[in-house]
Amino acid sequence: MDGQTLTPRCRTNFGPHDPYVLLVDDHEPSVRLLRELLSGAGIACVSTTSAASALAQVDERRPWIIVTDLSMPNLDGRGLATWIKSRHPSLPLILLTGELLDGEAIEVLKLNFTAVLSKPLDLNELLLHLDRLLPAPAQPV
């Protein structure tokens, strides 16, 4: 938990058309706390606790990035990624997983995921990925 250098995105009020990150995790406390942290860092977020509700959210409004857990009941992170890539091939997905994966398994996952991060999450590592993938903050006029 070293280095609390969050992104310089200072906004906390988000409009309905702002690019947002969709967070998907069946562990409600994790997804809620992550949403709070990312919002505090100036990143608009919507969170869901199932892949099915994530798909509904994507249909309603396309997110800029999806951050999803791997192990979830019914449709898991892999299944969600397959579905998303078939309809939105350019939509970046970041995978969070509590499983210990070897190099080969990670390489397979990286076919569909931009990044594979382990749980417990290193927040700064996630922020670095999000900062790279999100559009640059609008400059004040």
């Binding site: 938990m1 070293d2 609390q4 562990h27 406390p29 994790s30 706390l33 992550l34 709070e36 942290l37 505090g40 192990s71 969070l96 509590g98 499983e99 210990l100 070897d102 080969e104 749980k119 417990p120 999450l121 927040l123």
Partner: protein, 233 residues
């Protein structure tokens, strides 16, 4: 001290599981869901700590946060070690000299032990000791094991690390004289470093080998595996 002995007891028991493939599979199934839930809990704890830290004043951040962070990482490491013992372990073997692999690490191991006031005596073979091994898994497991043993300052006798090749097998032995009861555990939480023992046993079992632990007179580990590993091993 009691905690250290309990850890050693658990680690020694898990050695019996780690060398038995059917028990490893059962443990993997049993622990899989448990570890997943534990990691989720740890994840939310860590995220909550991030939030609490952001909201606290600078004075409160110093020692208390360092301690919380340190204790948190101990739990995380403990779960990681438990998972590592029972997860599938495919090997990437090469045909190489065991001495070559050992020599890459012995200087560091010697330093670790010296810091605990202990001496490591290396008993390397004079004959070639080339055979099949996964250098990454083997050296990684030995690294954890030696790091754990370096936490104990229990006796003045030097530790002997012997390795070589005999009767078609590669082998190594770790020989400590003296009793664990005579020493003191490290002052910092170890995060179940003792689990490096069953992890080492698991790595040897994955090589199709044998792993023996004797604690009657000191602490003695003997491991061996075929110098030619069949594809089924």
């Amino acid at each position: 001290m009691v905690e250290a002995v309990q850890e050693l007891g658990l680690a020694a028991t898990l050695v019996g599981v780690a060398v038995n493939p059917s028990k490893v599979r059962a443990l993997h199934t049993l622990l899989g869901d448990y570890c997943h839930q534990t990691r989720n809990l740890l994840n939310s704890l860590k995220l909550a700590l991030y939030i609490a830290r952001q909201g606290s004043c600078p004075l409160e951040q110093s020692k208390d946060w360092e301690r919380l962070d340190s204790e948190y990482k101990v739990v995380e490491k403990c779960v990681e070690r438990i998972q590592a013992i029972c997860r599938p372990m495919p090997l990437a073997t090469i045909n190489a000299s065991l001495s070559l692999v050992m020599r890459e690490h012995t200087a560091r191991w010697t330093t670790w032990l010296e810091q605990s006031g202990r001496q490591l005596v290396l008993d390397a073979p004079k004959e070639p000791d080339v055979g099949d091994l996964d250098p990454i898994r083997l050296s990684g497991a030995l690294d954890g094991f030696v790091n754990w043993r370096a936490d104990y300052t229990c006796c003045d006798e030097p530790i002997v690390l012997r390795w070589g090749k005999a009767d078609g097998d590669l082998y190594f032995e770790w020989i400590e004289s003296g009793s664990l009861d005579e020493g003191e555990p490290e002052p910092e939480p170890a995060g179940m470093k003792a689990l490096s023992l069953p992890l080492l046993a698991r790595v040897i079992a994955a090589h199709g080998g044998r792993f023996q632990l004797h604690q009657d007179h000191g602490f003695h580990v003997a491991a061996s595996w075929p110098a030619v590993i069949s594809s089924r091993a």
